[in-house]
Symmetry: C2
Subunit: 328 residues, 2 copies
């Protein structure tokens, strides 16, 4: 009797959200800001190219918040114009990923944030030099002190602050989310048909949840081998296990209209190509042109509210700030 009472109570509680709960995709929740000061500091750091050896590359260079949190290049440009090994994933909604990077080698945003700074092919700096730079600037020191209560910044605080800022980079209120929440006019008949096809043909097996992805690692090329010159092996590169070869984190499809080109190698330059290849390689299904058009129409309803904040103004370097070294 007690159990039945509980079930009835739970059903009553969940009733208003029933329409949402029945779908494999849920609306993107608005960001909850826990520490506004830390977010503001993280925003400055995100835009500060002095975290790179050259003084030219910031987080925002490759995860450009004006462009869907990506650089819209196949693979990124790093220090000294080095060609990056993999496509820059979007930072938007990345807090919902089960892990960070395509191969999931960072467990969270904080662990991720330190990577590119010290990667010789990306920002080519060191954590020590980045922290020295920040501690040479009184306005930064004061901000770290105010946020962390310590007299000097360290790399832990830097990555905490960047992660705190990135956690705010969610994109709620897409047309699809409005539809999920009950506004049946928010998407067109074609877009709805695209969504139904997306569900029925199995895309939601991997692309589900609020981020429409980011919840699991899956093999790129289930039904047929993915043909690429890119050398990334995904999870297999980490574990060394054959079963993990070409297993990549399923990317979010939120704002996918803005995050071209697609796949870990950036080789699909249109959504149409990406959908066609996914159908063939992951589902063993050849979508017709009409079906592809419908799915693409649906995917474009996933574009949400983009970052909405003022361009941060960075505190200037002082005479004691180490100089950037762009050329050798």
């Amino acid at each position: 009797m007690q159990l039945r009472t509980l079930i009835v109570a739970l059903l009553a509680l969940s009733a208003p959200a029933a329409a949402v709960a029945a779908e494999p995709i849920q609306p993107v929740p608005a960001a909850k800001v826990k520490n506004a000061g830390m977010v503001e500091l993280g925003k400055k750091l995100y835009f500060d190219p002095r975290l790179s050896k050259s003084g030219f590359i910031s987080c925002n260079s490759c995860h450009n918040l004006s462009m869907g949190g990506t650089d819209n290049l196949k693979t990124s440009i790093g220090h000294n114009w080095q060609e990056g090994p993999i496509n820059s994933p979007t930072v938007l909604n990345s807090s919902m990923n089960l892990a960070q990077f395509w191969d999931g080698r960072a467990k969270d945003l904080k662990a991720q944030a330190g990577g590119p700074i010290a990667n010789p092919g990306e920002m080519a700096f060191t954590h020590e030099l980045a922290v020295d730079m920040l501690n040479s600037i009184p306005a930064y020191k004061a901000e770290f002190k105010s946020v962390f209560g310590k007299d000097a910044a360290n790399i832990d605080m830097v990555t905490d602050a960047i992660a705190a800022f990135e956690e705010t980079l969610v994109t709620p209120d897409s047309r699809f989310d409005k539809w999920l929440k009950g506004d049946k006019k928010a998407i067109s008949k074609t877009e709805l048909e695209g969504y139904q096809l997306f569900k029925e043909s199995g895309c939601t097996a991997c692309h589900y949840g609020p981020a429409v992805g980011g919840n699991s690692f899956q093999t790129m090329g289930v039904v047929a081998k993915y043909d690429t010159k890119n050398k990334a092996e995904g999870l297999g590169g980490l574990t060394g296990k054959d079963v993990d070869r070409m297993k990549f984190k399923v990317p979010t499809l939120r704002n996918v209209e803005m995050t071209y080109p697609y796949f870990h190698d950036g080789e699909a330059d249109t959504l149409e190509k990406a959908v066609d290849i996914m159908g063939k390689l992951q589902l063993g299904r050849t979508y017709s042109a009409d079906e592809i058009a419908k799915i693409v129409a649906f995917l474009k309803t996933l574009t949400g509210k983009q970052p909405d904040f003022k361009l941060p103004i960075l505190p200037p370097s002082t005479n004691d700030t180490p100089k950037p070294k762009p050329f050798g």
Copy 2:
């Protein structure tokens, strides 16, 4: 009698502004926005790296509005990590310059804006390709149509819009401007002494007006030759005249605390060095360390209100948009 009446009337008119008019430096006037739509469009273009061959370099890369409208590098990084020939001047208050570029080769901001896009060492694109890119994007086309009333963008509209945005990038309300306007507590005793020394020792012969510079071309190295490995010859490079060799546009000193490093070659990495060299080379005067400190203190009062707007969100490319070519 008529002339006397006129003079009396003019004196009466100018009386309230007498305190300001007596100084060689005037406050920075707030921006007058003539066409808000054009400014918004220009802001997007200013931040859009798709105006470069690589899809990676925007106007904001080298004239970074988070960092005083400069890149804070000796000379800039261009396409394929090319080392630029000259220090990137600040875009802030650049509308007040008598001409653009260090050698004044562009008569105004509109003429300047097209330069870097097509410069093989900077954005390495062509005007034609830049316009093709914009016209492939319906949201851009609609915005050009709304602002210019034409169905397709052309390079004239692009440079008009960028210039319109740049005209808004003025920095009023510095502490020094507050002092100029009568708030005698806005600057300290040391800062005021620095200003008096700046005036009395002759700096204002070249650094005058609202931008504290930008009004004339002057020879770098009047009293003694400026020793540099930089090959730029300034106005002489344009006119071929010996008298114009090493004549550069006098840079604005507004926000000079943020626009390091200094001089056309970026070789002075601190304000102290810059003041010392200017004293010796332009005025034949060796300032004491105390005098330099005072002038530097004054110069730091010239930092005004920095750009204050939301990060623009760029419309995504379409399937028809030409792809960037970062690597060859």
